[in-house]
Symmetry: C2
Subunit: 113 residues, 2 copies
Amino acid sequence: MDSIIHQHPNWETPYFASIFTTQLGENLDGYDETSDRMAELVEKYDGFMGMHSARDENGYGITVCYWKSEDSINAWRNDLEHQTAQAKGKTGWYSEYTIQIAEVKRSTFFKAV
Amino acid sequence: MDSIIHQHPNWETPYFASIFTTQLGENLDGYDETSDRMAELVEKYDGFMGMHSARDENGYGITVCYWKSEDSINAWRNDLEHQTAQAKGKTGWYSEYTIQIAEVKRSTFFKAV
């Protein structure tokens, strides 16, 4: 197997990452719809570059969003529809979560060819 | 439901994160053993603070490791046993991956109580 390694396409450092880890609880009423809606909404935000997301069979998930600036992260945090979703996350869907805001300094991308 | 929000316990900013996203391929010979061994080995590294990890049912996973400094990340990258594992990842287990090194500036932790 041959392989290539290069910078992540079009993601020039430095850029910013929001690392959101969540443990889903038992009451997930409305969760899927809201999650889909947030994914759709965030795409339209100025400065949003992309997302990596994985959730395991126990409801534990990590979503990393990439942003051109901290200002763009703050604008998204203050979005009214997003704030309603955040409130529901805290009072219902998530038993636990962490949010970390980070500045990405180096990135590498590998694809087997 | 009441709730608490505070800083991630004992994780004083700034600290560093390595964000490793991987797509598993078809040949996973030796993958589970090596993955377990790396998780055991990294724990012993000076500057290692902790890890978040999730993999979905399609073999797509995100592992975020937290470190006190970039030097500690570099030392782990250059670990000989880890380098052997990295080589196997590229020639066999992973069809695609990204590695991003970031400086965490803010963190929030939430737990429903």
